[in-house]
């Protein structure tokens, strides 16, 4: 990292390409926000274009970031709770890697969604662990040394509690509805674990549907999930979650997703998909062009009817 503290910049706007080049490096640990919706898709394509290797993916339930970066061979290790595409289907690349070592074996360290959330919460608090009543007695505890079951020091009689360690990824990428150039970041709906994923990371890239004025932020201060002092870079990235949904902004493109899943079921099909949508697009605008602006616009307009 260079000498300037990027968290103190008064204008953090930067291109997606530059943000990924600056903060995502070979061998880094990386976390992505999103829970189904609000998925960090466009930055995943950019990481594929740039080809950073040996990544440790730390996440709750990553979809494209897990499946794609496993498929391209960029992931070495995953600390996650789940990897698939929800209603659209399973993660064939995850299956290939674990079942057959294709394209190569990956280390898997498993938690649950909540306890990954607690790992990010602990990271965001600057403390080494968090206690939980989950995990105990299950096979997650059995197969994962990072889950420690201890005697509750405050209980007079026997009492057990599980501990999970803080997560502190080298870099987090957060996709949000809006942010200002200082990095103050707002979600218009749920935020899944985003506010803690950001704070747990050393470096934070916020991508957002729209860059807004700081005055807009101040007018809705209850919506600010991530304050400026957490953030290193801000990228305006409309439709950055496509084909996933973005609350209050555009609907889920389920038909697109179904087409994608059908195609990436085979190793060859996945290669073709990545050739077309990652390498075949010079940037996210090019991706949008290829999806079709009219289609994207339709997803926005159908979404807006729900808030009439």
């Amino acid at each position: 990292m260079d000498g300037i503290d990027s968290k103190k910049l008064l204008d953090k706007r930067i291109s997606l390409k530059d943000a990924i080049a600056k903060f995502v490096f070979n061998g880094c640990s990386i976390a992505f926000s999103g829970m189904g919706g609000e998925q960090v898709v466009a930055p995943t394509y950019e990481i594929i274009r740039q080809g950073q290797k040996d990544l440790t993916l730390i996440g709750d339930s990553p979809c494209e970031p897990a499946d794609f970066l496993i498929g391209t061979g960029q992931i070495k290790r995953m600390e996650v709770a789940w990897a698939a595409f929800a209603v659209a289907g399973v993660s064939q690349n995850y299956r290939n890697a674990v079942e057959k070592g294709i394209p190569h074996e990956i280390e898997v360290c498993e938690f649950s969604n909540y306890t990954m959330g607690l790992r990010f919460l602990a990271g965001s608090l600057g403390i080494p662990f968090m206690a939980t009543k989950s995990l105990m007695g299950s096979s997650l505890e059995k197969y994962n040394d990072w889950i420690k079951v201890i005697d509750d020091p405050y209980k007079k009689k026997e009492g057990k509690i599980a501990l999970v360690p803080a997560a502190n990824p080298d870099v987090a990428i957060i996709h949000a509805n809006q942010a200002d150039k200082l990095g103050n970041t707002q979600f218009l709906g749920f935020s899944s674990n985003a506010e803690n994923i950001a704070r747990s990371a050393k470096r934070v890239i916020v991508t957002c549907e729209e860059i807004v004025s700081t005055n807009t932020i101040r007018k809705n201060s209850a919506l600010t999930a991530i304050p400026q002092y957490v953030v290193d870079a801000v990228v305006e990235l409309p439709y950055g979650s496509h084909p996933w949904n973005m609350p209050f902004t555009y609907a889920y493109d389920l038909p697109f997703h179904m087409e994608m899943i059908a195609q990436i079921e085979t190793v060859d099909g996945f290669k073709k998909w990545i050739d077309k949508w990652a390498y075949g697009c010079k940037d996210h605008a090019d991706y949008c062009e290829k999806v079709g602006w009219q289609r994207l616009h339709k997803l926005s307009s159908v979404e807006k009817q729900f808030y009439k």
């Binding site: 209603v87 079942e99 649950s112 607690l118 007695g137 299950s138 997650l140 197969y143 749920f190 889920y252």
Partner: protein, 292 residues
């Protein structure tokens, strides 16, 4: 143990619709229910439109009290935010569950055992955890729901290789190895209360914590079920036939899942145009059904 179904039974329903209705009837009014996607989630909405109007639905992405004008296509779908009472965080929703506020959680898996332990992580086959024959998605929130929801509803495909004496991997704890095991860990929740399969409904014996056959779906026999269970299944002395959905329930299911995304093959047949049409229609229809 399930809610009585009032209203005329439907004479024209599918198995999927029966499953939705069966899930719906596990919900009591005013309960707080942690919903996932698919059939059980549809069941929760059917409950809200029938006998449980005050049920509070919570999803993992952090929305509480969602009341969407469309089918929820995922736990992070925009639908979750719609008319929600609170839009918060994943960790907070799960924390509220761990604190004991959630009455019912809904789970599925690839394997279940007689103590209601679920596996949604890996089918070992001739391999092991690190080299399984089939790698599944993993826990997601399932372990947490199984640990902390006051009770859980399990939804399963009825196959001998899925109803096991012992699952390969306990993703979501049921009663573990039997009576007293949950107490040892001090879980917030009390464990599974029901398994709904495509053939039958199972409940758990209060003393032995073992799943027993409580009802068979119309047209299915007790022997049919036993053939698809690996352990020596206990059968209720007064085993029932699962009541079919009512006409009202079927009608609501048709409205909610117009394109049969969860209750048929709709997902594979979806075009962009038919999908947008579905969203547009759903808004109009559901808005008129929910009280303002």
């Amino acid at each position: 143990m399930s809610t009585d179904c009032k209203g005329a039974p439907s004479t024209n329903y599918t198995l999927q619709e029966l499953l939705v209705a069966a899930a719906a009837r596990e919900i009591k009014d005013n309960e707080v229910v942690f919903v996932g996607v698919g059939i059980p989630c549809l069941g929760a909405f059917v409950a809200k439109f029938t006998h449980a109007p005050n049920v509070v639905l919570v999803v993992e992405s952090g929305c509480i009290g969602s009341m969407p004008y469309r089918l929820m296509l995922g736990i992070g779908d925009n639908a979750c935010n719609e008319n929600a009472i609170a839009a918060t965080s994943l960790w907070r929703a799960f924390s509220d569950q761990q604190r004991g506020y959630f009455d019912l959680g809904m789970l599925g898996g690839a394997q279940v055992d007689k103590y209601g332990n679920l596996n949604s992580t890996a089918i070992f086959g001739k391999g092991d955890y690190k080299h399984p024959v089939t790698r599944l998605p993993g826990s997601g929130g399932a372990n947490d729901i199984a640990s902390s929801a006051k009770r859980t509803l399990l939804m399963m495909n009825q196959q001998k290789r899925r109803f096991l004496d012992k699952v390969d991997y306990i993703t979501s704890p049921g009663y573990l190895d039997g009576p007293g095991a949950r107490e040892k860990y001090g879980y917030t929740g009390n464990g599974p209360s029901v398994i709904i399969s495509n053939m039958a409904i199972f409940r758990f014996d209060e003393m032995t914590k073992e799943a027993y056959l409580d009802s068979v779906h119309p047209g299915v026999t007790v022997d049919d079920v036993k053939k698809e269970v690996s352990w020596d299944l206990k059968v209720s002395p007064n085993v029932k036939v699962t009541p079919p959905p009512t006409e009202e329930e079927v009608e609501i299911i048709h409205i909610l899942d117009e394109k049969k995304i969860y209750t048929g093959k709709g997902l594979k047949e979806l075009t962009f145009e038919s999908y947008i049409g579905m969203l547009e229609k759903s808004y109009t229809t559901l808005k008129s059904m929910f009280p303002a």
